[in-house]
Symmetry: C2
Subunit: 413 residues, 2 copies
Amino acid sequence: MALLVQKYGGTSVGSVERIEAVADRVLKHKQQGDDIVVVVSAMSGETNRLIELAKSIQGTPDAREMDVLLSTGEQVTIALLSMALMKRGLQAKSYTGSQVRITTDSAHGKARIQDIDTESMRADLDAGRVLVVAGFQGADEHGNITTLGRGGSDTTGVALAAALKADECQIYTDVDGVYTTDPRVVDSARRLEKITFEEMLEMASLGSKVLQIRSVEFAGKYQVPLRVLSSFVEGEGTLITTDGEISMEQPAVSGIAFNRDEAKLTLKGVPDVPGVASKILGPVSEANVEVDMIVQNVSMDGTTDFTFTVHRNDYDKALQVLEVVAKDLNAKEVLSNANIAKVSIVGVGMRSHAGVATNMFKALAAESINIQLISTSEIKVSVIIDEKYMELAVRALHSAFKLNDPTAGVSEA
Amino acid sequence: MALLVQKYGGTSVGSVERIEAVADRVLKHKQQGDDIVVVVSAMSGETNRLIELAKSIQGTPDAREMDVLLSTGEQVTIALLSMALMKRGLQAKSYTGSQVRITTDSAHGKARIQDIDTESMRADLDAGRVLVVAGFQGADEHGNITTLGRGGSDTTGVALAAALKADECQIYTDVDGVYTTDPRVVDSARRLEKITFEEMLEMASLGSKVLQIRSVEFAGKYQVPLRVLSSFVEGEGTLITTDGEISMEQPAVSGIAFNRDEAKLTLKGVPDVPGVASKILGPVSEANVEVDMIVQNVSMDGTTDFTFTVHRNDYDKALQVLEVVAKDLNAKEVLSNANIAKVSIVGVGMRSHAGVATNMFKALAAESINIQLISTSEIKVSVIIDEKYMELAVRALHSAFKLNDPTAGVSEA
């Protein structure tokens, strides 16, 4: 008998029919003898409806009142799902964030969970009840309703699983797991059975939008096994877990991530003296532009070339700032390119496998793909290439690292 | 400077525009120096939408979860109205029933208020804030969300006014006050400036649907001056208050109430012995039929006639029961009539004015209206007449008691 926390997003509870389907799934797990805590989001569309209402009254709605308003979305879902469970003969009980006592700080709209009182939930679980908890919400120490911001329901799920010491936190979404890469780009992309938290974080931050980064960080920190599954298709999904849970046999690379949301800017011929990097990036960040990759080449003749990437939406703004900086620093010229793509290989296996980066570069060279920039972390190698070669590069790497071969994938522990 | 509790029903907050109009009215009162606590219902239509959702899932929705669901309706309104007040430069703060700490019993769907914690509200009022409280809801001692049932928002308003010792509880509705009788029946019907709680109770229970009986009882019990006003038209409305507040000059009759929702049943020739009334009405109430008027005529030849009225919806059921009872008691026959109307004169002045009933009967006789039944209380005389004479009777009585004459109405104290 396991204690499972199951989280269903807005699409999974988007209609009465889908709520009934969730109830069916919960019933099945309960019949298998598991204890279940369900975390739900607002029905899809509801949050946007409420935001529109608020904005039609107050251009920038008051943050406290916005939370009072938005929290009703999940409250509707918990009541309806509890009813659907009772119709199936289960004992069910709903909890708002305040009722659980999910205590947060007072940062309305982006509150952070500080404490979860499990006493009442524990008693209800012992009494055989299925608990249905409103995701995305809590209350501060004064009883003001707060919301956790984007991806907040995932965070609620993970936090409850940690507080209740659940065996698994299951995140039901519209995809059936984490893939070696995007199946729309590579036909032979394969669902991973397991992946580590660190790999998942790299995959997520590189554009794989299965889970919110914050909830993965949270799960990693509290060592809550996290499983991504489909609400609509039966399957095992992908288990996100700690290093130790994953076989030693594991291959160097677990997945290929990519995105074409970035643009590249280079300042050529800036003086190679201490402080120049901050003179360049200071004004950029003051303009609220976030920088992703930063590469500085070796110096020649006392000057160097400084390159960085930004989100493509910030491209124009960053370019304007850089033109000014270039004059101040007497730089030779500003180069820029928005037609780029970032392709990355991710895998904790890299730590113990030599030559992974070399294999990556070799595979790209075999397709005559020029590498414009390289950046590495302990479990990731990213390259910037011409946008038009992105799909080709992803397919070449997927094949080079044998990711289509299940026996070479992340094997079961 | 007065402390006012203002309650706005679903129609008054039924759209963004109407919420803005409520905010304008609150601003005006606040600018006049009053402290304001606003109690609001769910936006009109919202409660029905939620009930439909629930019923589509669970035929008879679980009572606890229904309250979790329905309470979101008012929660949306308090957030939106608070935003509208802030847009006008007021400091505003919303309170759910749980946040006030409106403690109720655990009778979901028809909970009774046990206690109201005014500490936090008092501090916010002292800080100059307008408080916006969700009507219709509270929480039991375990923190379960409860709702107060029909007319619950009126009850919340009156209970808050009592707890905060407010100067007045103002109920904003779609009518501009309490009238001497229904203006749709009598053109010259006149708005009353004042009426006593007792009169209001009689008027309400006789079909005048301006206020829920429960909130009037509550206001009377705690001596909270209650004012009925229109959300849409400026005006003084009608003040419902205690006897002492109303002039001694007051006329015998304050208003004419009527309804055609009843049916009459008579058992002729039953033995005039102790216990016969309960032998007749016992089976009727066991069939869950509520009885309104009961009249027993004097005995002749050891037998008597026993008549009572029931709601017209219960007419068939009551008749079935009575046929059986008639056999058991060897009654002569059962008479029944669903085409009747009840017309009543109401007024605390009757206590000190002799001959009021006589004047009533005289006025009806002048129109050749036959009286089928008579029943009286301390401040009311009701008669049952043929349904087709109802309007005629109401107009005759309205004129006989000079209710169209403002100087003869309930005068100001």
